[in-house]
């Protein structure tokens, strides 16, 4: 199964922990997981535990416009993408969950 996750809150929100645990559990069961970050959610690429998801095979993409507004520098663990990538995750996923 392909799981898509949208995360729009910063790491101080419990959503980050929930999204991390959900993504890890889904990967452990062999599912494909893609996460899209928007708004203050883009700050999650600076969170060590969140960034580690990419090593577990979770694909992370984010809204590059939102990172520009917030001065978030490019990192290797995430695709600094666009709403096209967001739409693609929604389009291609079997389940899509939004955390905001």
């Amino acid at each position: 199964m392909k799981l898509g996750i949208l995360l729009t809150t910063s790491p101080e929100n419990e959503n980050t922990h929930t999204a991390i645990e959900l993504a890890k559990a889904a990967r452990a069961m062999g599912h494909e997981v893609s996460v899209f970050l928007m708004e203050d959610g883009v700050y999650n690429v600076r969170d060590k535990n969140f960034a580690a998801l990419s090593e577990a095979g979770v694909k992370i993409a984010l809204c590059a416009l939102n990172t520009e507004d917030r001065g978030v520098e490019k990192v290797d663990c995430a695709l600094f993408g666009s709403q096209y990538d967001h739409a693609s995750i929604a389009h291609d996923s079997d389940r899509f969950i939004s955390f905001g």
């Binding site: 928007m38 708004e39 666009s82 709403q83 096209y84 967001h86 739409a87 929604a90 389009h91």
Partner: protein, 115 residues
């Protein structure tokens, strides 16, 4: 083709999220899925023609509304929320509908993105 609903629930002038929800709605059309935008609760203020964010130096969403209409996305606002707040006239292209229609639209959506 998937049915995607973007749900706008908050008052618009203390957050950029409503404007961003409309930008996301435009973005969600890019893989040719069918997008509906639903305004409910205090979110109906974003669909009010009376709202003028420029008066406090905030961006308006005219461009998003224009593109969503051009792409034939469905824009609906919960009539009860709209009328109970005296939100005036809706933005042209936004249809006021019964609560049951809002629920039906949410129910038939493959994906709901709440803001």
């Amino acid at each position: 083709m998937k049915k995607i609903a973007v749900l706008i629930r908050r008052p618009p002038l203390n957050t950029i999220l409503n404007a961003e929800a409309l930008r996301v709605s435009v973005g969600m059309t890019l893989r040719d899925d069918r997008v509906s935008v639903i305004f409910i609760g205090d979110g109906v203020w974003s669909a009010s023609a009376n709202l003028d964010p420029a008066k406090i130096g905030r961006r308006d969403s005219k461009k998003e509304f224009d593109v969503l209409k051009m792409l034939k996305c469905r824009l609906i606002a919960d009539r009860a929320s709209f009328e109970s707040r005296g939100a005036g006239e809706p933005v042209p292209g936004v249809e006021l509908v019964a609560r049951s229609e809002v629920i039906r639209t949410l129910n038939e959506s493959d994906i709901v993105i709440p803001f």
